[in-house]
């Protein structure tokens, strides 16, 4: 029994647009027009969200460090990122001698394309999801691991020792932590019985999996947070671009718009990972329900699902930013030890526990 | 050990040393060829145990160089100043002490860089601060072409 008020269901809107397009042109062209519209919307959304996230990071970082952050450009400094973007666009693209030109130019695009493909399948509200595969979770994990190809290409083609070391470190790190990401997501997949993202959210209509799945879901959530921070080269795991050791690692030799791509892709990866955590563990756009029916649930339903989604994602992003600016950095061998000796066994044990609980029906 | 006892001990090891006047630390001038054996004894003898080389430098006295070693003991806390006199101005050379005190390796490179005194058997006799064709600035007959020190 679904208790979300139907006014917030976007499938009505999308069906209406589809019908009106098919009335005007042939079905093939209508589909093509829809692709173009969705592509444009996502491009704009991506760019605006990127700008906003960069601003948020700078403000959060500043407040943790006991200072104010950007506060001159625009009211409260909200146009700071736009000013930075204009500056980056005007910078000279320094060509590197002896660099592999094709790979050097392709690398930033690969990273952006990988994160773009992953964003397309995030559910923002009921009916507001571009790609709704029945292998949703699997698709996102597979596609975001394409980003590592871009990083390796960037490091290799820069023809610089620092970049190469940074890229190799990053490659080892990302490949190791993909395991933990996949396995921790698997716990909720076993609970919900499906990999399709919209189905997983619908199954949380009587409570979020982090509450319903008690111990194993909580463990999986924590492991997922750690592993995904390492996947996106952020936080205490950012030695691939460790400023104080390797002067920017794999993207040392990039300048101007190409550097902007790497920078933007890092923030959008953080968003993707946070929204994946929200979708799978915290209910996505589903409001906070306890059981079915009841006054509390009806009150919660009044807040639009889109708002729920962004607030939850925002909180997860804030947690990730918080521990980037608090902890020192791990060394590469400590990082790999963390994955292979600690997170992986915890994950395997967790999955066995989840399978057992699901069989017994010992979850809410 | 106090000053007098140290001087007496040095006389016993190596007779014929000169002891210049110094109010602060006992000073002894050792001939260049006996320097290594003397310093070896200073480091390893149980009563002396001069294991800490505080300072290694050289002074240019216009007709000779004087290489000065300030030695101290971390156990007994006595200090001594050992000097050797190098008369040769074209090719000044003295034995290295870098295998007795490891820190001497780098102080000797600095002395070579600034004075031109080379140290025999040094593991890596290269200049430390300046370029290879700079000359030896701390010598008194060094002409400063850029005339930064004008008087």
């Amino acid at each position: 029994m679904i208790l979300v008020i139907d006014v917030y269901d976007f499938s009505g809107l999308t069906q209406a647009i589809d019908k009106s397009l098919k009335a005007v042109m042939s079905p093939g062209w209508a589909t093509f027009a829809e692709y173009v519209i969705i592509g444009l919307i996502f491009l704009i959304f991506y760019a605006i969200l990127g700008l906003f996230l960069v601003y948020a990071e700078r403000k959060v970082c500043a407040f943790i460090q006991n200072r104010l952050g950007p506060n001159r450009v625009g009211p409260l400094g909200i146009f700071q990122t736009i000013a930075d973007l204009i500056k980056l666009l005007m910078k000279e693209l320094v060509p590197i001698k002896n660099a592999d030109k094709l790979l050097f130019n392709i690398a930033p695009f690969i990273v952006i394309i990988a994160s773009f493909m992953a964003i397309a399948s995030i559910p923002f509200a009921r009916g507001l999801q571009a790609l709704d595969f029945n292998i949703g979770v699997f698709y996102i994990v597979a596609v975001s691991s394409l980003g590592v190809v871009g990083i390796l290409l960037a490091g290799w083609s820069s023809n610089s020792k620092y970049s190469l070391i940074g890229a190799m470190r990053s490659g080892a790190q990302v490949i190791s932590y993909e395991l933990s990401v996949g396995l921790s997501l698997l716990t909720v997949v076993v609970f919900a019985g499906t990999m399709q993202l919209s189905e997983i959210i619908e199954s949380q209509a009587n409570g979020w999996w982090i509450f319903k799945g008690h111990v194993p879901a909580l463990t999986a959530f924590i492991v997922f947070l750690i592993a995904s921070t390492a996947e996106t080269n952020r936080g205490p795991f950012d030695l691939a671009e460790a400023e104080s050791e390797l002067t920017a690692g794999f993207h040392t030799e990039y300048s101007g718009i190409r550097f902007a791509f790497f920078f933007l892709a890092e923030f959008m990866n953080m968003f993707i990972v946070a929204s994946l955590a929200t979708t799978v563990f915290l209910g996505g756009w589903m409001p906070l329900h306890f059981g079915t029916g009841g006054v509390f649930n009806r009150i919660m339903d009044f807040i639009p699902p889109v708002v729920w989604f962004f607030v939850k994602t925002g909180i997860v992003i804030y947690i990730m930013m918080w521990f980037k600016w608090t902890f020192p950095r791990l060394r590469i061998d400590q990082l790999l030890t963390l994955e292979w000796k600690y997170l992986l066994p915890i994950n395997l044990f967790n999955i066995t526990l989840v399978a057992f609980l699901t069989l017994m029906g010992w979850h809410f | 050990m106090d000053q007098a006892a140290l001087k007496q001990h040095f006389e016993e090891i190596l007779p014929g040393l000169t002891f210049p006047e110094n109010k602060q630390y006992p000073e002894v001038i050792v001939p260049v060829d006996k320097l290594r054996a003397f310093c070896d004894h200073l480091k390893n003898s149980q009563e002396l145990l001069f294991d800490y080389l505080m300072c290694l430098t050289a002074v240019d006295w216009n007709d000779h160089f004087m290489v000065v070693y300030h030695l101290s003991s971390t156990i007994y806390h006595h200090t001594v100043v050992v000097k050797t006199r190098i008369g040769n101005r074209e090719n000044p050379a003295v034995d290295t002490l870098s295998d007795i005190w490891k820190t001497a390796e780098f102080h000797e490179r600095e002395v070579y860089d600034l004075f031109g005194i080379s140290f025999i058997n040094h593991p890596d006799m290269k200049r430390l601060f300046l370029e290879d064709d700079y000359g030896f600035p701390l010598r008194k007959d060094f002409t400063d072409e850029s005339r930064m020190i004008v008087k």
Binding site: I64, Q65, N66, R67, K161, Y162, I165, P236, D238, L239, A242, E243, S244, E245, L246, T247, W325, T326, F327, P328, R329, L330, R331, I332, D333, Q334 | E21, N22, K23, Q24, Y25, E27, D51, Y52, L53, M54, C55, T57, V59, D60, V68, H70, T74, H77, V81, W101, K102, T103, E105, F106, H107, L114, L128, F129, L130, P137, L138, M148, I149, K151
Partner: protein, 375 residues
């Protein structure tokens, strides 16, 4: 021929990968170049190349009078500038057998300890930043600003005080000096435990520093490593205890010694030294005797012919000033035995077998200030 040259630059002997850390690098805190020979991520050899900031202070000093030399010594180890000044002043005063007033002794010692705390604070925040905890940089500098405000009020300058002269000080302290120091100590005593929790207790930090680069006492003595780096290996080398000067004989403080000798020990020694410095300040600040701030000296200072050596404990180790005088108003030869010069070269022994990330942690824990190495 071109390929030969290229091969020698990229691959050293034994076909190891050579990487240059520096001279411009965010972590070396000065211009210093490490030529690191790597096998994968493991360091096989580290060769430090210094000399990028060699200014010839010793040669310049041969043409300057003694009060003028003091202003050059500021620029050697600029974070313990006052202690460098004091070393030259003490050497000159010892040679001339001048008795400085009590007030001068107390003020000089107080300034020493304030400089030591400021220097250790800067070291702490830079070390955190090198290891990736970028927030510590701002917290450390915030506290250091309070000390710099005290200096600015009394002497007009922040980093380098330049207030020493042979015979005493060039000017007296501001009337609010003592009050501000007491306020600062009260403020700082609350902050240090907080920083301990933030960085020292952090699991990641401990993993990065515990057991890394152990320096034995034997190594410390052989390489002449003094100061907190030496004391972390159990070498008792505090000049304030061995050959006290200034007001140090009148205060009681502990010499902080540890025996582990790893990076964490060097870190902890400096944190504890800050506590000891505050203890010294508390004993001295309220008891500054009234009197002259300088002894009566001749207008032109000529040292008698002879040789004089003075040892002083700066924030990084033992500074030695060796003056050879021939009776003129300028020294015949002046030599500065710089603590950082000896502390630097022990890296080629300590870093072997560890990773690049550890090299940054090790050089941060040795607390090198590069202008002191090159003078």
């Amino acid at each position: 021929m071109q390929d030969e040259v290229v091969k020698n630059i990229i691959l050293g002997e034994d076909d190891n990968y050579i990487i240059n850390v520096g001279p411009q690098h965010p972590s070396t805190h000065g211009v210093l170049r490490f030529e690191v020979s790597l096998q994968g991520e493991t360091i096989k050899k580290v060769i430090p190349h210094c000399g990028y900031i060699h200014r010839g202070i010793e040669k310049m000093s041969e043409r300057l009078t003694y009060p003028q030399i003091i202003h050059l010594t500021d620029r050697m180890d600029y974070l313990s500038a006052h202690m460098n000044n004091e070393a030259v002043c003490l050497c000159v005063e010892k040679a001339l057998e001048v008795e400085v007033p009590e007030r001068v002794l107390y003020i000089r010692t107080i300034l020493n300890e304030l400089n030591r705390i400021a220097s250790h604070q800067l070291w702490w925040c830079a070390m955190g930043m090198d290891l990736g905890a970028l927030t510590t940089f701002f917290y450390g500098l915030r506290d250091r600003e309070k000390i710099l405000d005290i200096f600015e009020e009394s002497f007009g300058t922040r980093l380098i005080q330049s207030v020493n002269t042979p015979g005493g000080l060039m000017q007296d302290i501001h009337p609010g000096f003592q009050k501000r120091i007491t306020e600062f100590i009260k403020y700082f005593r609350k902050k240090l435990p907080e920083y301990d929790q933030l960085l020292t207790g952090n699991v990641i930090f401990r993993e990065r520093t515990e057991g890394i680069a152990i320096m034995t006492r034997e190594d410390a003595v052989q390489y002449g490593v003094t100061g907190p780096s030496g004391r972390a290996s159990g070498l008792s080398c505090d000049i304030r205890k061995i050959a006290p000067y200034g007001a140090y004989p009148r205060v009681s403080f502990k010499e902080v010694l540890r025996t582990e000798g790893d990076t964490l020990a060097r870190y902890k020694v400096r944190i504890e030294e800050m506590y000891e410095s505050m203890k010294i300040l508390e004993q001295l600040t309220d008891n500054i005797p009234l009197g002259d701030y300088t002894a009566k000296m001749k207008a032109v200072i000529r040292l008698p012919a002879g040789e004089f050596y003075q040892r002083v404990e700066t924030a990084r180790g033992e500074l030695g000033v060796y003056i050879v005088s021939d009776g003129n108003k300028t020294p015949y030869r002046i030599k500065f035995r710089a603590p950082n010069f000896s502390n630097l070269f022990v890296i080629s022994k300590l870093a072997v077998g560890y990773k690049i990330a550890d090299l940054i942690a090790i050089s941060g824990s040795l607390d090198l200030v590069i202008p002191d190495i090159d003078r």
